[in-house]
């Protein structure tokens, strides 16, 4: 073990060594370490290169705010770039790589950017890459893209599972430090449903490195005992390794739990990360405070560290920051660190205090330099000396570590996620959460309370008030006795430091330094939002956790105003980065969206169907047979067979809605543009539904099964939308009507039996007489099957133009009935057919689908003008359909198209041009909406919407597709290509 590890110190297990690698170098850490503490214990000061200037960087913090120590953890599909070493728990076999360096961390070519720095200041991109414009694409953008970003993501799929979950509670406590523990304990003992989330592996927060005692116990022991009591309560859930990252509407909090980010081989029955949405009646933000860096020259050199981080490494992890340390402080907290360092046997060379006097008495060995500042540092890849400025003189002191104690900023991010802005408190010298928040309170250091006893008291008191509001009685909780807490005075922040030497960094991650802020203000970008964007301060992955308040202070100073006047930029989720894996949860790959399966899915499968995804459904496209080499061969066979013999097609996915109630007919009369009041019982009718703007919304058949019971079908694509629409009409528009709607799509397996042999086949399983006389075209009735073994509905409707029926049977029997029909039809040549054949058959008949009903057509455009009722007082779309423009003669209207040369074809979406006309927008006559090869016609046939289409049958045109560079001579024609007299229907 290295000489930086202090034996018997901290909460790490000195008997449990862990091996890991950093840049392929083997190192040893201890159970309980973070990657950062283990690196420090190994004397690894240099852990990365900075973003813009590629400066050597070390570990600055011990927590979530870390801007420098970003590494890539894991390999292949588990690669996770930009992992903060300060929050990554160490595990046996962890592999970490430094980032943003080439060819190596020690020798980095990009560091030359440092020499270029006079040209890389604020607004550099805006100024440098202005012109000439053509260079953008080839030179500037690739350059910026290469320079931007830190780690590299893997191209391999992530092998791990992620999931999401909801949780509900009376009180959500965010942060398991002293304040949060006291609050959770109080509310938990009162019986409230409590959730405590803490981002660390152990609850305790600052207690884990505090040297104070609570009720005679070490602070860390108090944390452990309290957390154990909380975990024993059935009404309390303690969630560690969980970061609450956002506050959302309805008092919902987003949180991410790192379930298995601290293990090498994640167990497969658990996710690696879990995204929580926590619904809280009340929440308490006990998130503590962030220590502010001090802006002096070379404050980014490895070895310079936040004072509280140094104390954490020392007391919690048993790691000495160096051999000869110095502390630069603006408040009393620096002295606690000095005392702890000396107690651990680490030399403190000097304490540099910016104030004339401290609030605590210091009795240690360090040289105390008052009314002084550190103005610069020296060293190459790590700090070797500091330059102390006092009374206009500068002195150099050799050190190998420096702590910065610049005061504390409450962590109020979540309190500002719903639009509120932090408020500057001159008294506390800090930005505090906005006032008057509903459902969320703050306590402890997050509310700028500094003393430990006060934090414990505040947490308990707030929880008590919340519990009372919930109507629960709160047993009295005795406040624990705190000893040895030095507290922190709220000193005046020290924004700017006299005599700064070299670059003094404000935003470490984005390499924004003091001069950039000054430049932004001088160039007119002094508004805080503009300064942020001009300098990029606060725009990195750490979102300025360390830098924002300093940047605001410096802007305020430059403008000569108070930080209150400068204000803050907008806080938005996420508090810390959340992986795409967690946000996606389980919804990846096959689980991206649910699969909706037809009850005839397995029937189609066993007949060899090729499936296609349409919406959520898997529909059978065609049924290849052996010897068929292309899909077209299969489809041609299916098409010909339907018109010659018979085919069976699964149409279960059509939307089906049962409409009942004493006003059902009146309701249908209002939602369809054609008449439905007088539809006879036992009859089906084709209906057109319009939108309120007069355009066609959907079509389908509706059958009257009883006086007040209708069976409506919708298109597959619009099934859900039509149901919503009907519910809107019934509930919001006409609540006075007695109409009841039930979706029955899934209740029925529905199959189309089409072709001249359809009746013979069907009659074998249907008990009732289905002859043309007994069951004519558009008959719709309940039927009995197999001698009464089963009941279903039979509809004599036809999309193919053949003698055809649709049979609906209870879904669980669908496959069995389809089997029976196939068996009954074997002798008659029945074959299954799919969606492609359905398409060919309907185009041959000029029947429309949503290819034609594309939201721009009114009934007359499709030849349905006469269907629209002129007598009904009202229906959806009636008023707007009267508009003059919708009756204009040059509207694109339905027409057929065939190529002049049957060997040629064209595509759906191609445009129609008059013969000889140039392909210009003005000459556009319309477009092809559907096309297919018709084995009956022997060529491509198509439907199109063309200006004056119906009066142009026979005209030669050009079908043009600019996208494909195709131009085909064609002729407009009647859109009904096959059996225009419908003789095959009525047999």
């Amino acid at each position: 073990m290295s000489s930086y590890r202090l034996p018997k110190r901290g909460l790490v297990d000195h008997n449990a060594p862990l091996s890991f690698t950093f840049d392929d170098r083997s190192m040893q850490g201890l159970e309980g370490d973070t990657l950062a503490s283990a690196l420090l214990a190994n004397g690894q000061m240099l852990v990365g290169r900075s973003f813009k200037y590629h400066r050597p960087r070390g570990i600055l913090t011990a927590g979530a705010a870390e801007p420098n120590a970003l590494v890539t953890v894991g390999r292949r599909g588990r690669t996770e770039p930009n992992t903060r070493a300060t929050v990554q728990e160490l595990y046996e076999g962890l592999e970490a790589q430094s980032q943003n360096r080439w060819p190596s961390l020690n020798f980095d070519v990009g560091a030359l950017n440092g020499l270029m720095s006079p040209f890389l200041g604020a607004g550099f991109y805006y100024k440098t890459f202005m012109w000439p414009a053509p260079l953008w694409e080839k030179l500037y953008e690739p350059f910026i893209r290469r320079a931007a970003g830190l780690g590299k993501a893997s191209y391999e799929a992530d092998p791990d599972a992620y999931e999401k979950s909801w949780a509900h509670c009376d009180l959500l406590v965010i942060g398991g430090g002293p304040t949060g523990l006291a609050a959770a304990l109080t509310a938990g003992r009162a019986g409230a449903r409590v959730i405590l989330v803490d981002e660390g592996s152990l609850p305790g927060g600052s207690l884990l490195f505090d040297t104070a005692t609570i009720d005679g116990r070490a602070a860390a022991d108090f944390a452990r005992d309290t957390s154990a009591e909380l975990q024993s309560m059935a009404n309390v859930r303690v969630m560690t390794r969980t970061t609450a990252f956002g506050w959302y509407d309805g008092n919902v909090f987003g949180a991410v739990e790192r379930v298995q980010k601290h293990v090498r081989d994640p167990a497969s029955h658990l996710p690696v990360e879990r995204l929580w949405r926590i619904v809280a009646r009340q929440a308490l933000l006990a998130t503590g405070a962030e220590e502010r860096p001090l802006v002096f020259g070379g404050n980014d050199r490895p070895g310079v560290m936040m004072a509280s981080a140094m104390r954490t490494y020392l007391n919690r992890y048993g790691v000495a920051p160096g051999k000869a340390t110095a502390i630069f402080t603006t408040n009393d907290s620096g002295y606690g660190l000095a005392r702890d360092l000396e107690a651990a046997g680490v030399d403190v060379v000097a304490i540099i205090d910016s104030r004339p006097a401290a609030g605590v008495e210091y009795r240690g060995k360090a040289r105390l330099i008052r009314e002084a500042v550190v103005c610069g540092t020296k060293g190459r890849k790590a700090i070797s000396a500091i330059e102390v400025h006092r009374d206009g003189r500068t002195e150099t002191i050799a050190v190998d570590a420096l702590a910065m104690a610049g005061g504390f900023s409450p962590i109020v991010h979540l309190a500002c996620h719903r639009g509120g802005k932090p408020i500057w408190s001159a008294e506390k010298a800090a930005f505090l959460a906005p006032e008057g928040l509903k459902g969320l309170g703050l306590a402890g250091a997050a509310a700028a309370t500094t003393e430990l006893a006060a934090c414990l008291g505040e947490g308990a008191a707030q929880a008590k008030a919340i519990v009372k509001e919930l109507g629960l009685s709160c047993p009295p909780v005795a406040l624990p006795k705190v000893e040895g807490d030095e507290g922190i005075d709220s000193s005046k922040p020290l924004w700017s430091i006299p005599g700064v030497k070299g670059k003094a960094f404000v935003d470490f991650q984005n390499d924004v330094h003091l001069k950039d802020i000054g430049l932004a203000v001088r160039e007119g970008y002094s508004h805080v939002e503009l300064a942020k964007r001009y300098t990029t301060s606060g725009m990195a992955t750490d979102q300025g956790k360390l830098s924002n308040v300093n940047a605001i202070g410096l802007i305020a100073k430059a403008r000569g105003v108070s930080p209150a006047e400068v204000g803050t930029t907008t806080f938005r989720p996420f508090y810390t980065p959340v992986s795409f894996g967690a946000l996606t949860g389980p919804h990846t790959g096959h689980h991206f969206q649910p699969v909706r399966k037809s009850p005839l899915h397995d029937w189609a499968k066993k007949h060899g169907a090729v499936f296609v995804e349409t919406g959520l459904w898997y529909r059978s496209s065609w049924f290849p047979r052996s010897g068929e080499r292309t899909w077209r061969e299969s489809v041609d066979r299916e098409v010909l067979n339907v018109r010659k013999n018979a085919g069976l097609c699964d149409v279960s996915m059509l939307g089906k809605i049962e409409i009942s109630g004493s006003d059902a007919a009146e309701f249908l009369n209002r939602v369809y543009c054609n008449a439905f009041l007088k539809l006879a019982v036992g009859k089906a009718r084709y209906g057109l539904m319009l939108r309120e703007d007069g355009m066609i919304y959907d079509d389908g058949t509706t059958s009257r099964l009883e006086e007040n019971r209708f069976f409506m079908t919708t298109t597959t694509a619009y099934a859900a939308g039509v149901m919503n629409h009907l519910e809107f009409c019934a509930q919001a528009l006409w609540p006075e009507l007695d109409v009841r709607l039930a979706s029955i799509t899934d209740q029925w397996a529905q199959m189309a039996i089409a072709g001249p042999k359809a009746r013979i086949i069907l009659q074998k399983i249907v008990d009732e007489d289905i002859s043309d006389a007994a069951f004519p075209f558009l008959a719709a009735k309940e039927v009995s099957l197999f001698g009464g073994a089963l009941h279903g509905y039979l509809f004599r409707i036809s999309f193919s133009g053949e003698l055809a029926y649709e049979l609906a049977v209870p879904a669980g029997y669908g496959e069995s009935v389809a089997d029976a029909l196939m068996e009954a039809g074997t002798a008659h040549g029945v074959m299954p057919y799919g969606l492609e054949t359905l398409g060919v058959l309907r185009i041959e008949k000029g029947h429309v689908t949503h290819n034609e009903i594309n939201g721009t057509v009114v009934p007359a455009d499709l030849g349905f003008g006469k269907m629209v009722s002129a007598t009904k007082p009202d229906f959806i779309g009636k008023a707007m359909l009267q508009r003059e423009g919708l009756a204009a003669p040059d509207r694109p209207q339905l027409v057929g198209v065939v190529p002049l040369d049957p060997r040629q074809s064209f595509r759906t979406g191609s445009h129609i041009l008059a013969k000889g006309a140039a392909a210009t927008l003005e000459n556009d006559e319309g477009y092809v909406t559907s096309s297919a090869y018709s084995p009956h016609i022997g060529s491509t046939i198509a439907l199109a919407l063309v200006k004056h289409g119906p009066s142009r049958h026979g005209e030669e045109v050009v079908v043009w597709s600019g996208l494909h560079g195709e131009s085909t001579a064609a002729r407009l024609c009647n859109p009904v290509f096959f059996d225009p007299q419908n003789e095959r229907l009525h047999v």
Binding site: Y248, V252, V279, E692, D693, N724, Q731, A732
Partner: protein, 92 residues
Amino acid sequence: MASLVPCPNCGRRPKEEFTIKGAALSRPAPGADAADWFNYVYLRDNPRGTYEEYWHHTSGCRRWLVLTRHTLTHEVAACRDAADGSQLEGGA
């Protein structure tokens, strides 16, 4: 990320269970002026403040609701069943 809608029938539910239609307006009488219909179908206010909208609890009770939402804060001041007979604020 998340927000809850107070369905009068089901209680507070995630917004993912709902479908938003837009402004809740009274449908004009069948014989109303073309201008009234035009307003109803096409014209919308875009207020900074409270707004009455139709929401459908699609994956819940499947009732259409009239929700009074603040467009700036998303605060829901009221939510009622669309069939409850109350007058809509936005007339035509």
